[in-house]
């Protein structure tokens, strides 16, 4: 791991974040950080607030308290498309692909924000617009090769099995060339072989492109294997934070989580 890109400075830090929905405290006074090029896991039992945390980071939920500092800029909140434009991409717990579009088109949308040619050139599909399209197409084809989904390039994603959909969604996120990639349970519902493939992709992305990754995952084996540091949430509170070994030895974590479900 990290042969090419050693773990660097703090890239994102969330400080004293509190988020509630009516009476439900989804997050209470949460602080942690994510360093450049690391794989940071967020774990915790169901309803712990993990997905909410990712939603706060990419601007989908707006916390009542606390701040987010990303690449040196401190904010209380931001709009999702702003987060996207500053290099944060993500996948979702319940796949959020564009069902009516092909694999290729889905991944191409990941590059939409980088494409600039106006409607006139697009209508002609010539000159600048065609060059732009081909240039991005080439980038996307590399992702398709990388994820080994050449055979489903033109298939509408609604017709794909679950495991492949998860892979396409990762492809769409990668197409944006994110600096910070948020993955919400990328391996949920997969069989062992699919999980192994997905682990390999995540490690390769981190290693080859130096992408920083924040990952929610329930499979403890996977988490302990691939992550550099782990945050543990329980009922909206942070109960542990450290390397996999430290977290594994933490009594609160054992009580609240590992001890209960494993």
């Amino acid at each position: 791991m990290h042969e090419n890109k050693p773990i660097g400075d703090v890239m994102l830090s969330v400080d004293n974040i509190s988020l509630s929905f009516g009476g439900v405290h989804a997050l209470e006074n949460i602080s942690f950080n994510i360093r450049e090029h690391e794989i940071r896991a967020i774990i915790g039992p169901n309803g712990a607030g993990k997905s909410s945390m990712l939603n706060v980071i990419n601007g989908f939920y707006h916390p009542q308290e606390g701040t987010i500092t990303y690449k040196g800029q401190t904010r209380k909140q931001m709009k999702p498309h702003e987060a996207a434009r500053t290099g944060i991409a993500r996948t979702f717990q319940n796949i959020a692909l564009f069902k009516g579009m092909s694999t290729l088109d889905n991944i191409m949308t990941g590059r939409n924000t980088m494409m600039k040619k106006g409607v006139f050139w697009q209508a002609l599909h010539l000159g600048p617009a065609l060059n732009e399209e081909l240039e991005h197409r080439e980038f996307v084809e590399n992702i398709i090769d990388f994820l080994e989904i050449e055979h489903i390039r033109k298939t509408p994603v609604g017709r794909l099995p679950y495991g492949l959909q998860k892979r396409v969604e990762l492809g769409r996120a990668l197409a944006a060339q994110p600096e910070l990639l948020l993955l919400d349970e990328p391996m949920a519902g997969m069989n062992l072989e699919e999980k192994e493939d997905m682990c390999r992709f995540i490690l390769d992305v981190n290693d080859e492109f130096g992408t920083t990754i924040a990952l929610i995952e329930h499979d403890m084996g996977v988490v302990m294997d691939i992550s550099d540091r782990v945050v543990v949430l329980d009922y909206g509170k942070k109960i542990g934070d450290g390397t996999p070994d430290e977290v594994r030895a933490n009594q609160d974590v054992i009580d609240a989580y590992l001890g209960v479900s494993h």
Partner: protein, 358 residues
């Protein structure tokens, strides 16, 4: 062995990016265009032009417009008739104010005016969706028709309440007016629609089209990957209305020649164009043509068959027509929302595998 993707190696993405990557599709479309441009003009007479070809072309263009908004971007509109009226009255004002202006420019400017109006009425789409948006566009429909009926300036204060398109020459050939020949009228519309259909196809398969479809399929996810809903929705309203406005201009000036706002651009028009895209296929440019052909031809064929063929009363025939139409709409909505275009595609896929279905 006739229809195959295999064996046609695509060496570059550019070739794969071609509008019809499969050779047999290219031959087919070339043949259709050859017949449309070379054969039909030789045969066309007033009846064929007025009853079939001109309405087909005008409605196909309007359907492309509505398909962009509804089929590609997922925003329902019942304002098509009103937007066609905007195009028609813009064309009328331009034709009467600048009689020497090239008619192509007139139609494009009419589309431009409609695009602006469309964006204005598209603003609510940023807040409301689905049924509520449909109601808002319905309000646009009634407001626009009311406006053209009420404000005399739009019809140059004509006492009859009607507008009549003045004769127009296009590079020396009369294309509008009682003296214009059917081939001239037809060829002008055909060329216009062909060029703009191609442009629409290019737009929907590029960046802008993908942002529309992303908004249609899952607007939240679209926003999370950096697509601005405001930009995507309003651009869909703009481009869609541009097409519908141009269709309105052709519909009024070349096909009808004279029009009265309430009659020519009423709510029935909005529904008619909506039915075209439902039958033809939501989210398909080809479907817009198939749907328009079907909706223009079906009533004529049914009527010919029932009234002339088996001697049914005209009134009864009309009822049968409406009922058939209703059944078909329900069928397509429930069974095949991608319409005739999808059925055509399935046939092609079957052909591709034939004679080895497995």
């Amino acid at each position: 062995m006739l229809y195959r993707e295999t064996g046609q190696f695509k060496p570059t993405y550019q070739a794969d990016q071609a509008i019809f990557p499969i050779a047999q599709d290219r031959w087919f479309i070339t043949a259709v265009l050859a017949v449309a441009f070379l054969v039909v003009p030789l045969l066309i007479d007033d009846y064929w032009a007025n009853a079939i070809f001109l309405p087909f072309l005008a409605y196909a263009l309007a359907a492309i417009g509505l398909n962009i908004l509804t089929g590609y971007c997922g925003q329902v509109s019942l304002g098509t008739g009103g937007f066609m009226a905007v195009g028609a009255f813009s064309a009328f004002k331009l034709m009467t104010a600048f009689p020497d202006l090239n008619f192509i420019i007139v139609v494009i400017l009419a589309g431009g005016v409609t695009a602006l109006v469309g964006v204005l009425f598209g603003l609510p789409s940023l807040r409301i969706k689905g049924f509520y948006l449909a109601v808002a566009t319905l309000a646009a429909q009634f407001f626009l028709v009311w406006l053209f009926n009420k404000v005399g300036w739009f019809i140059n204060y004509n006492a009859t309440g009607q507008v009549t398109a003045p004769p127009v020459e296009f590079f020396g050939v009369l294309i509008i007016g009682p003296e214009a020949t059917p081939p001239a009228r037809y060829l002008f519309c055909l060329a216009f629609v062909a060029v703009f259909a191609l442009a629409a196809k290019n737009i929907v398969r590029g960046r802008i089209g993908r942002s529309w479809m992303a908004i249609r399929d899952m607007d939240i996810a679209a926003e999370l990957i950096g697509i601005r809903p405001l930009e995507a929705k309003l651009s869909a309203f703009a481009v869609s209305s541009f097409y519908v406005g141009m269709a309105g201009a052709l519909y009024f000036a070349v096909w009808l020649g004279a029009a009265e706002p309430g009659e020519a651009f009423g709510i029935e028009q909005s529904f008619f164009v909506l039915f075209i895209i439902i039958v033809g296929g939501l989210g398909s440019i080809l479907g817009s043509f198939l749907g328009a052909a079907f909706m223009v031809l079906m009533p004529i064929l049914l009527k010919n068959f029932m009234v002339n063929g088996i001697g049914v009363e005209v009134v009864t025939a009309k009822h049968v027509e409406i009922t058939t139409m209703g059944i078909l709409i329900v069928f397509f909505l429930i069974v095949e929302p991608h319409g005739l275009a999808r059925l055509w595609q399935i046939t092609k896929e079957k052909l591709r595998l034939w004679p080895f279905p497995h």
